[in-house]
């Protein structure tokens, strides 16, 4: 058993096509098996059912594609991150692709706790394009002092203002919207929640499965700005991708 670790890697991958139907837990299982197929020197916990020390940054909902997913993995032997990428990518099925890996110098750095924001591209599934002029309503939507949505959690339903968590919302291409949303565990905001509120303001109903969501990148806060984290300012914080936040 390889116990103890020599190297911690942060790995970036993409999830496209029909792989968007593979849920978060199954994606984790998929990578554990892929790492074994690639015969990479993963470190394992001790005991009768050893498991890899693998942690994913931000769960991706079923149906969402992504160009920027991350996990951290501990290795029991030192190895070149580029070699790691090459070998793991060779084990991918159509739809998954391993695009980058970097060594994490700070052992305590943890992808999941670093996640602060994410970029999304939101389009409409063919046949579900809205019939109203939605693009012109974005300024009015963002100009609202608060945007209340109902979140259902363990403690029942509660009203949450998501306006501070919409950092950007702009037209990217005809019928394609760009969103930058808060994604830390305390303020995690999903594109469909934003779009539902947006449609509601326009007096329209967003039909289920209308959206095609593609996550583009997941960010941490730039270290020097991290301390002001909880203060509400009008200025958007500064971000760095998880691969830079080592």
């Amino acid at each position: 058993m390889r116990e103890g670790f020599a190297l911690k890697l942060r790995v970036r991958f993409t999830k496209n096509g029909s792989m968007k139907f593979i849920g978060h837990l199954d994606t984790m299982r998929y990578f554990q098996k892929a790492i074994r197929r690639a015969e990479l020197p993963a470190a394992f916990t001790a005991g009768f059912s050893p498991h890899m020390i693998l942690s994913f940054a931000a769960p991706l909902g079923v149906g969402v594609t992504s160009q920027g997913e991350y996990f951290d993995l501990e290795l029991a032997e030192d190895m070149d991150p580029q070699e790691f990428v090459r070998r793991l990518d060779a084990q991918m099925v159509d739809g998954f692709s391993v695009t980058a890996a970097k060594a994490i110098e700070n052992r305590k750095s943890n992808a999941m706790s670093l996640v602060a924001a994410a970029d999304y591209e939101v389009g409409f599934r063919p046949g579900y394009e809205p019939s109203f002029d939605w693009q012109s309503q974005i300024p009015a939507f963002l100009a609202q002092p608060e945007i209340l949505i109902t979140k259902t959690g363990k403690a029942g339903e509660r009203q949450v203002d998501i306006r501070p968590w919409i950092y950007r919302m702009q037209i990217k291409a005809p019928r394609i919207l760009f969103l930058r949303l808060a994604s830390a565990s305390a303020n995690y905001t999903r594109p469909d929640q934003v779009m539902e509120a947006f449609f509601a303001m326009a007096g329209e109903k967003l039909s289920p499965h209308a959206l095609l969501v593609n996550r583009l990148e997941v960010y941490a806060r730039k270290p020097e700005t991290a301390m002001q984290g909880e203060e509400e300012t009008d200025r958007e914080p500064e971000w760095i991708s998880l691969l830079e936040a080592l």
Binding site: D26, R37, E39, G47, D94
Partner: protein, 622 residues
């Protein structure tokens, strides 16, 4: 990116969309224009169950080894998708190409248990293939049935064009070649079936007629067409060391399958000859795979799948002669790669305890015994060579090694069973508890936990009990009550947990297992009434089945309760399953006298399987 058969909106709506998208690691994709034969291979249950079937995986790879053939997988859509497909008229599709099953040349359906029969009809129905073979046209796929249930194909005879009886490795090539040849010559579906019916192991039900006596028993069963064999010989891989179709790249599901691990088949058949066990009879002769090949296979399959566990598959692993060598090899080579080694229920002895201590957490794992019956008399009747001394000795050893959990499996309703035999179950459990408490307290690991579980006995074709009457539902319930009362009256009853299976599904299984051609109408009616996934407690609708019997005017009791006469023609008698009728009858008589028969390694009992010229029958002469 591949186009899927189902729209995004549907896949986002249903539970576990990954069941329907294909694209798994090691799934085989070919160019359809480059193959001559397209095979849809179906396990008629949900994906997670079907993906765990070893036989299907072997044949999937074997078929795909042919350059001219592309074999794809099909499973039953779960009830949520089933409803959507019916509502929207979406045809059932195969996972790899996502093409409709109806476009394929063959639809092979493997049936491992009788309770999947309504799912077979679901698969045909959703595919848009007429349920009855006689209604199918030249454009429809040829529907082939196989698996353990094909040893009595009669209840499903109306729904299949042909059945393959026995192990798939031997005759499929000849069958596919015959199909290609027939197509080349412009032959019809019937031309092909006539040719297929002469290939060893192939049964084409439409070429046989059955007539019945006044009392409902079979009067005759014979071919209705010249050149058609009157007996179908089950197919067997004779030299398993040479002919085993080893495959090194099992498909790896995205979602957790029931068998989320590498399954290594170490042998086929069984030397034991338990009289209730169909597998132990129909898979004769016992054949062991080569240990060196198994080691190599284990390494390759673990590497190619990335599974974190490997398990050995066989009917009785303890009888595999190279087991020690294989198991220690697996432990030595894979434990340090964080691979779990899952052992099938081994006979508890020093070796088993040593191995279990190495691969499992003793505190969490349990010992499993399958005495099957509560008294020695009853165990002799069923030829289960496990004595109370064996159990108590094994358990005692294990208790001293720190184990404190025991699972016991029994059957109720076995032929000749008396109340004493049922009460014996509780008493045996008590003996085991006593054995535990004889160990000094400071050396014990807390309290003992015994779980007793009983299932109800179902007589199966090609076993010595194929003539036996089966108990009624009420009898079964009464027996379970006696068993429960006896357990509750034991001194250590608080340490014993008792669970039993529902009798209704067992009775139905008994009907389907020994049914004849007239049973097909009940199955079809039940399906039409809405029965599906009968093997699943949550969807089993006994009320609808009862309605189906009533509407079709078929008596279930005729098939279940009745003890068959020794000269009666049984629906499956036209199959030569290796074990002869004389042997089975001899065993039936021995059983009634409570006499045991030695296992194949101790002494040949002349069952008939020696004709296959392989396996244990020839070990001594080697």
């Amino acid at each position: 990116m591949k186009k899927l058969a189902l729209r995004d909106e549907i896949l986002l709506e249903v539970d576990k969309a990954a069941r329907y998208i294909g694209g798994e690691v090691n799934a085989i994709v070919k160019e359809k224009s480059e193959v001559d034969i397209r095979v849809a291979f179906c396990f008629p249950d949900v994906y997670e169950i079907g993906m765990s079937n070893l036989g299907m995986m072997i044949l999937y790879h074997m078929f795909n080894d042919r350059e001219d053939t592309w074999c794809e997988r099909v499973y039953s859509p779960w009830t949520d998708l089933d409803a959507i497909m019916r509502r929207e008229g979406i045809p059932l599709f195969a996972l790899e190409s996502q093409d409709p099953v109806k476009d394929f040349d063959f639809l092979c359906i493997t049936m491992g248990y009788e309770m999947c029969y309504t799912n077979v009809l679901q698969v045909l129905d959703l595919s848009g293939i007429p349920l009855h073979a006689r209604d199918r046209g030249e454009e429809d796929p040829l529907v082939i049935g196989g698996g353990a249930c094909a040893y009595n194909p009669e209840p499903m005879a109306d729904f299949f064009d042909l059945f393959y009886i026995g192990e798939g490795e031997t005759s499929y090539d000849a069958l596919f070649d015959a199909w290609k040849e027939n197509k080349k010559q412009g032959g019809t579906r019937r031309d092909f079936l006539l040719k297929a019916a002469t290939i060893p192991g192939i049964y084409v039900p439409s070429f046989y007629d059955v007539s019945y006596h006044q009392d409902g028993t079979i009067a005759s069963f014979r071919p209705n067409c010249p050149g058609i064999p009157s007996v179908i010989q089950k197919q067997v891989v004779t030299d398993i060391k040479k002919q085993y179709r080893s495959f090194e790249k099992p498909v790896v599901p995205f979602i957790k399958a029931t068998q989320d691990r590498v399954t290594l088949e170490i042998q086929r058949g069984c030397i034991r000859g338990c009289r209730f066990c169909q597998a132990g009879m129909i898979y004769r002769p016992d054949r062991e795979r080569d240990v060196d090949e198994l080691k190599q296979s284990a390494s390759a399959m673990l590497k190619n799948t990335g599974h974190e566990e490997i398990s050995l598959s066989s009917l009785s692993s303890s009888d595999y002669s190279q087991l020690k060598e294989l198991v220690y090899y697996l432990i030595d080579n894979f434990r340090d790669k964080a691979v779990n080694i899952s052992l099938p229920s081994l006979r508890i002895d020093a070796f088993a305890l040593d191995v279990m201590g190495k691969v499992q957490d003793v505190k969490k794992s349990s010992l499993t015994f399958a005495p099957e019956a509560g008294t020695q008399r009853m165990r002799d009747v069923i030829n289960k060579g496990l004595t109370q001394e064996d159990i108590l000795h094994g358990a005692g050893e294990a208790f001293r090694g720190g184990w404190n959990k025991v699972k016991l499996y029994f059957m109720l309703g076995l032929p000749t069973e008396t109340e004493e035999d049922i009460r014996g179950i509780g008493r045996l459990a008590e003996e085991i508890a006593k054995c535990y408490y004889e160990i000094p307290k400071e050396k014990r690991n807390g309290k003992i936990q015994i779980s007793v579980s009983t299932s109800f006995f179902v007589p199966k074709p090609f076993t010595p009990f194929q003539w036996a009457g089966m108990c009624s539902e009420q009898d079964f319930i009464g027996k379970a009550k006696i068993c429960k009362d006896e357990i509750r009256s034991q001194l250590n009853q608080r340490s014993i947990r008792y669970s039993w299976h529902e009798p209704d599904v067992t009775v139905l299984e008994g009907f389907l297992a020994r049914g004849d051609r007239r049973c097909g109408s009940v199955i079809e009616k039940a399906y039409r009434l809405g029965c599906l996934y009968d093997a699943w407690t949550e969807s089993f609708r006994y009320d609808l089945w009862k309605q189906a019997f009533a509407e079709e005017g078929v008596s279930m009791d005729f098939y279940t309760l009745r003890e068959r006469g020794e000269d009666e023609i049984l629906p499956w008698d036209f199959i030569d399953a290796g074990v002869t009728r004389e042997f089975l009858l001899r065993e039936w008589h021995q059983a009634k006298k409570g006499l045991v028969t030695p296992n194949c390694r101790q002494k040949c009992s002349g069952c008939g399987a020696r004709r296959y010229e392989g396996g244990v029958c020839f070990e001594a002469s080697r």
